[in-house]
Amino acid sequence: MGTLASVLEKAGFATVALSSIRGQIETTAPPRALHCEFPLGRPLGKPNEPEFQRKVITTAFSLLEQPSGPVLVDYPISIDDDADTPLSCPIPPADTSGRNPAAAEALGLLPAWRRTQDNYGRSTVGKVVTAEQVPDMLDLFAQIADGESWEDVGFPGDPTKIAADIKNFYEEAAISLADTPPSARRAESWFVTETLGGKTIQTARIKMKEADVNFYFWYYLLPMTQHHAIDTN
């Protein structure tokens, strides 16, 4: 972010960067930066709070009054995430056709996921698979959790991207299951610690680590914020 700001400033634009990681903005030292201690992924702080967002922007633009740089100012309001506080919400009835429990759970979540699409019109599912393919992908992760090699289960693409599609699917379904819009990482925490889908990927992740699979393919199956040690026995 800081380096990119400097590239654009060199090209003749005045730039103001919002910052989310102070250590990096200190090192890259762009001309003007407003450091905001907000949840990572929410650089304007609060979704659907226009006045809050506007205040962040106008505070950032006030840095243009400084005569020289680098300028680095801390925004006076901080917002914490909830990585360790799982969302509390009902999980809809699972599919009853007899497939593995995680896949059946995901099938039961499809209506909630579709309601989120109808209400908000945005999804981050689709790196490799669609929402409708998520149950099939959980079948594959369940096979790894049961001891099969990840290379033999037939993933249609990079397993880290497929795991991201699954996580994003659950989080987007949770938006429609919760009483209020989830704060940052609450749905993530719910997915990993409260759902069969999340527990299946966590178990597969540990199995792949124990099998000395390439670091990239097991480490990035879940966010670093949810790399809890789990009992795989």
């Binding site: 250590g23 795991a163 749905a187």
Partner: protein, 150 residues
């Protein structure tokens, strides 16, 4: 682990530092044409994939409706984006500031790169894609860039 701990870990990673801090004297804010440059890995089509290490960029029209956040990293919240695109890409806030006369105008062209790049030298961004994106913004007569990180 919380974002606070993640910040400590990520804040210690190597970064590229220019020898000098570049400086462009800003125009008055109420006369400035403003563009957003984000590192959220936004795409205007429904492709939700952006490979780690890809230092390219996408062009985001100011009135694009079907934006997708395609960033490769799992290490940040995406729910906020689904709830409100402005928490990442505050285009509606810029239009309001223009209507209120606080900024001059909103660019027609905005830009997305992707953050969390494994190559900390960002050589491609510095020498190729960054200047190419700047050319697009120059063609749109942009004066001021607001950068939002993901």
């Amino acid at each position: 682990m919380s974002d606070e701990q993640l910040r400590t870990t990520l804040g210690g990673l190597k970064s590229f530092t220019f020898d000098d801090v570049p400086w462009t004297t800003p125009k008055p804010l109420h006369e400035s044409r403003v563009a957003i440059v984000t590192t959220a890995g936004l795409r205007v089509e429904s492709n939700a994939d952006w490979n780690a290490g890809d230092q390219g960029f996408t062009q985001i029209p100011h009135d694009a409706e079907n934006l997708t956040l395609a960033h490769y990293s799992p290490n940040f919240d995406r729910v906020g984006w689904v709830l409100d695109k402005n928490v990442v890409f505050p285009i509606d806030r810029l239009h309001e500031l223009a209507e209120d006369g606080i900024i001059g105008s909103v660019a027609k062209t905005h830009v997305s790169f992707m953050g969390a790049q494994p190559d900390h030298t960002l050589e491609t961004i510095r020498l190729d894609s960054g200047p190419a994106a700047a050319k697009l913004l120059t063609d749109d007569e942009v004066d001021l860039v607001l950068l939002t990180p993901v």
